[in-house]
Symmetry: C2
Subunit: 452 residues, 2 copies
């Protein structure tokens, strides 16, 4: 048996064994893990400094970006404390399992309950930030799933010790120590992707290319977290203050986030009125504007040559399908709400799109017509986030539309099963129902839990 | 552009256009389709007779089974009327879209709603029964999804005319005529599987091999409907009457269904007491028993030689992973509830498993420990069915655990989107929240619909 198969098999066995462990015990495991992390703090931060030193060499050699190096640092500011607080926050959240979504009496004494339950074994693949090991392990344990985690090789020294702390914490509970496992190599990922018998869901968080590559190489369901090509549409009736505030915030609040806007769509009636005002506000925040001809022209006559040259340039077709992740915004002019909706549906990544409008009917048409996970009215695209939505924490923002869409909280890590029981003498058999026989009652049962 | 790409692109365009069409209009389309089917009844049944004649030649040549030929027949008994009644039943069901699952006020005047909506474009691949074209088209239209349907080649003449009737019906409404399209060849399926830009979900209904083959060849999410390796476990405390009724019904009510039992697990304490009684009841229904040694022995001493020879034989390891789909049942003896749960988790297809027990604690452990879509107590596995569960109708029984699990009704054909609106002066921007700024309120909103 390959090492990957042993890992996968151990994960499945751990998952199955854990089904008879109580929700309280899972919460106790989170506290045990937090205590282990605290006890091992100095050795973990030592390992993190080694990862940082190695990364510094890579940055100096031009093989790694400075921003990636920054993401590795577990010692800076309150990052360590936030990580531990995150464990406590998740521990305190409501249990996502055991919730009844449908309950009906099929016949006198024959009860059916649809109840939320864990999915099984998760394979989570993510990039450099080492604390994600703890974040994801915490979410998996809280939701009752076993998990196999693969982080970036840049943070390996740190991740190994974080994983050790998790294993030590689990060892102090009734949960199997193989409930959370970490792997280090791409080869292991590749082997695991063929083990659909043991692994139930793959969650890749990273580039579009990473997600597509995984989708192409497995028959396990994939919940991808990849690019965000978000847009803001300035409708004919847009209010000036709202337009400026929403567009600027969507672009500049955190340009490298997937929920930052990459495209601004301007209704053609606004190109000489509202548009120059919004453009000036963006330029004052150092945003570079990639304009189509109708939005370029008015700026060329009102901006000084230097500003125009520095901040404004004609757009290319490619700009409208590029995730800039920087202070750069593509601008396009369209003649109507309908064409804006069509344009968004064919160009956006169906992540989050916002309309600025004073027209309620147009707001409604936009929200129904735009096929994206988030459709906002007079609000920044930056609100698309699990914490902001009120989920306490998030697995990530799913760019798929099956199972979970948009920001994914603990609810996205559960599925459901149907529990049925007969409580009458003789039990229940199907052959007694149907033409000439008994009829199904389908009488709703009012309950939030399964009584057995 | 390939023909498959044209079909997929037309489907996506139809889906997007349909998002602004009301739910009432979709219901009107169902009535229009029913009228078209009625008007074309004689030509459709003529085509069906041609399909049947061609199939008869295949059966005579030994290339098709008699049961497949039977499934092709749209003229027999009340099949035609049932098909039309099914259209009316689905039309009358509650709209699965527009339902609010989560609503919260993030800040004064900033409202968030998670609302159910169609998935997009479905690619549904199924086997011979021609009426499935109408069933699936009806479900897709009701739930607001565009669909591309591929049936079996055996029913092609019938399916083409059924599809014509659907297209004619759609043409009398505001829904695009390409909302429901049918394709005929495997090559087209193969091309469509690469078009994840246009197709959002593949639903294959058929063999395990078909489902796995599709999962291996696409990065589009797959909701598979394949094999059912269901089992019944006779716990130590099983009641005799319940045991006999549940086991016999699970096996003989409809042996070729995916929810029929294929394995009986006998607690070892019952091999000389309850087991022979259950065995005799099964044999009286002409069920062939494939027994392990502990269940074979007692039968060899109490059955006459002829009966033993005809109905009982030693099992092989392979029998326990075989979907018999006939009056054949594999029997295994296990020493405990815990081993029975482990055995089911490693051998069953996670479809539906039932326990016969008088012990409530054991019932609860079984239902939590068995990782299947359906876990039943003293009830036949045959109850695992969308109609019986109260969904009115079903897409099929999903053997996956992501998005929808077990019998899938209209609810399995929707996803959700997040709608957000700011109703205050200036709109809402994210930069004002966080440390030193505003805090999120997350105040639940009590509503069942989105007000915009």
């Amino acid at each position: 048996m390959s090492s990957a198969e042993e890992i996968a098999k151990a994960a499945k066995a751990a998952f199955e064994a854990s089904q008879l462990v109580s929700s309280e015990e899972r919460v106790a495991a989170l506290y045990a893990i937090k205590r282990e992390l605290e006890a091992k703090k100095s050795s973990i931060l030592d390992a993190n400094r080694e990862d940082l030193q190695a990364a510094r060499l890579e940055v100096d050699a031009g093989r790694m970006s400075e921003s990636m190096l920054k993401r590795l640092d577990l010692g800076k500011q309150d990052k360590w404390d936030s990580m531990l607080q995150g464990v406590l926050d998740v521990a305190a959240m409501p249990d996502p399992t055991g919730k009844v979504g449908y309950a009906t009496e099929l016949d006198d004494g024959l009860e059916l309950y649809r109840v939320s339950c864990p999915i099984g074994v998760l394979l989570v693949i993510f990039e450099s930030r080492p604390e994600v090991v703890v974040n994801i392990a915490t979410l998996a344990i809280k939701s009752g799933n076993a998990a196999i985690l693969k982080g970036g090789k840049e943070s390996m020294r740190t991740a190994v010790l974080l994983a050790d702390a998790i294993t030590s914490g689990l060892a102090k509970t009734n949960l199997p120590p193989t409930y959370i496992q970490t792997i280090q190599t791409r080869d292991e990922v590749s082997s695991l992707l063929s083990l659909d018998r043991y692994i139930d869901l793959v969650i890749p968080r990273g580039s579009n290319a990473l997600v597509k590559n995984i989708q192409n190489n497995t028959r396990i369901p994939v919940m991808g977290h990849s690019d965000g090509l978000c847009s803001v549409f300035l409708d004919e009736s847009a209010d000036e203050q709202k337009a400026v505030r929403v567009v600027v915030d969507s672009k500049v609040d955190y340009p490298s986030a997937c929920n930052a806007a990459e495209t601004l769509i301007v209704h053609q009636s606004l190109v000489t009125t509202l548009w120059p005002i919004v453009a000036k506000a963006l330029i004052s925040k150092k945003v570079k504007l990639l304009c189509d001809q109708p939005t370029y022209s008015p700026l060329s006559s009102i901006l000084d040559t230097e500003t125009l040259k520095t901040y404004v340039q004609p757009s290319t077709a490619e700009d409208y399908t590029t995730e800039h992740l920087s202070l750069t915004l593509s601008i396009i002019t369209l003649p109507s709400l309908a064409t804006a909706i069509q344009w968004i549906n064919s160009h956006s990544s169906h992540h989050t799109d916002s309309i600025v409008t004073e027209n309620e009917a147009n707001a409604s048409v936009f929200c129904n017509g735009v096929d994206s996970a988030g459709v906002f009215v007079n609000a920044s695209t930056r609100f698309a986030d699990g914490f902001r939505y009120g989920f306490g924490t998030e697995v990530g923002i799913s760019t798929g539309r099956i199972h979970a869409r948009g920001p994914v909280g603990l609810e996205g890590l559960v599925t459901y099963k149907y529990k049925m029981r007969s409580v009458v003498s003789g039990g229940h058999v199907a052959g007694e129902f149907g033409s000439g026989g008994k009829q199904f009652k389908h009488k709703p049962i009012e309950t939030s839990f399964v009584p057995f």
